[in-house]
């Protein structure tokens, strides 16, 4: 019921996988990329755990939901485990992504190389500002948001990033949903409604600053 509550997407076999586990897989993937560059052949759950500030048991448990990737007495093969993580996360392929709202944050995201490196290709941009529409931004022409539904379908977009003001975000989302999009990353601070079969993730930077503020004001013991 709560987006933070025991939230699980899907099931590998009959098992349900928690949001925390999926986020840790992302972290393992990035760390494994680093280890690969460092020339390491294998890594133990202990080593990986140390880098991620986790327990070795947590690492093994996370991986065990998806298979047996290690060798007892030795550890996990770095490159292979990296590929496994990519496969599980679905980033061993290209994703066709559109971004709506080419303003301050939107522009920053469009040029972000890390997204492309992980297979997220921002190939369509939309805005409602006449001065921006038709202009070229990092090689992509900005389209008029008025044809959003049609253009998303035409370009066979699979994911959408929303970077418009909070006041209009729901209208945009409604059109995005109509276009059949099932995955949305939203940067507008608003409680947006989507049907049950659409995945919506919210990125809220104020929340993290507020967490820091809370921690400072209450001068609180750091976990571990």
């Amino acid at each position: 019921m709560n987006s933070n509550t025991y939230s699980t997407v899907g099931s590998f076999g009959k098992k349900r996988i928690s949001e925390s586990t999926i986020h840790r897989l992302s972290r393992y993937y990035r760390t494994l990329s680093v280890l690969e560059k460092e020339g390491l052949q294998t890594v133990s759950s202990k080593d990986l755990a140390k880098r991620e500030k986790l327990t070795p048991a947590q690492v093994r448990k996370d991986l065990s939901f998806f298979g047996s990737f290690g060798t007892r007495g030795l550890g996990y093969p770095v490159t292979e485990l990296k590929h496994q993580m990519a496969s599980i996360l679905g980033i061993d392929r290209l994703w066709r992504v559109a971004l709506i709202g080419v303003g301050n944050i939107g522009s920053a995201l469009v040029g972000y190389k890390e997204f492309a490196r992980q297979g997220f290709n921002i190939i369509k941009l939309f805005d409602n500002d006449q001065r921006k529409i038709g202009s070229n931004h990092k090689g992509i022409t900005i389209s008029d948001v008025r044809n959003l539904e049609r253009d998303l379908k035409e370009a066979r977009i699979e994911m959408v990033i929303i970077a418009v003001p909070a006041t209009v975000a729901q209208y945009i989302i409604d059109d995005v949903v109509k276009a059949g999009i099932k995955a949305i990353l939203n940067f507008a601070p608003a409680n947006l409604k989507v049907p049950n079969d659409v995945f919506l993730r919210n990125e809220n930077m104020s929340m993290e600053l507020e967490y820091l503020s809370f921690a400072l004001v209450n001068n609180h013991a750091q976990k571990k």
Copy 2:
């Protein structure tokens, strides 16, 4: 041990408050601001829960960690509860914030009005690019990162936002820590080390895209 693991900062009285609860307080705060603008005098845990897609019990439990703010039979006074949330989160005051790395994402953050509205005042900017140093960005002169430690102390900075390339983030963090800063929001995708008395939060947008990717590939049942 894990940054996602039962992570709790501090204690109100003897109670430990979970990260989830603090994040929900942020959401309550934002929603209460909206309700206040809508002219509502009181709100019940049921109403608030509906807006946040939580259970009423969750709302009441979260609030109960910090006090009794409601009136039985009536609900919570909107404006007062908003102020209470602000006070608990520590955003009923101004925070002196510095941002390091005025590039794509850094520039976007500097101009973001929502931060200032919640008391986070970005009053110092740092970069190592000679073309940027000395120039004015949204009314703030960009300082040379070489004097980082000295300048952070001089400006009595309390929080730092890091938006430099991942390769240099650890060096920057080390200087920031030396300057006595106890709260850092980091946008670089890297496993950064800080002493135990420094709060470090990481904002990782790739992670959310990867979550969506996982959800799509495994075509998974949405929670609830």
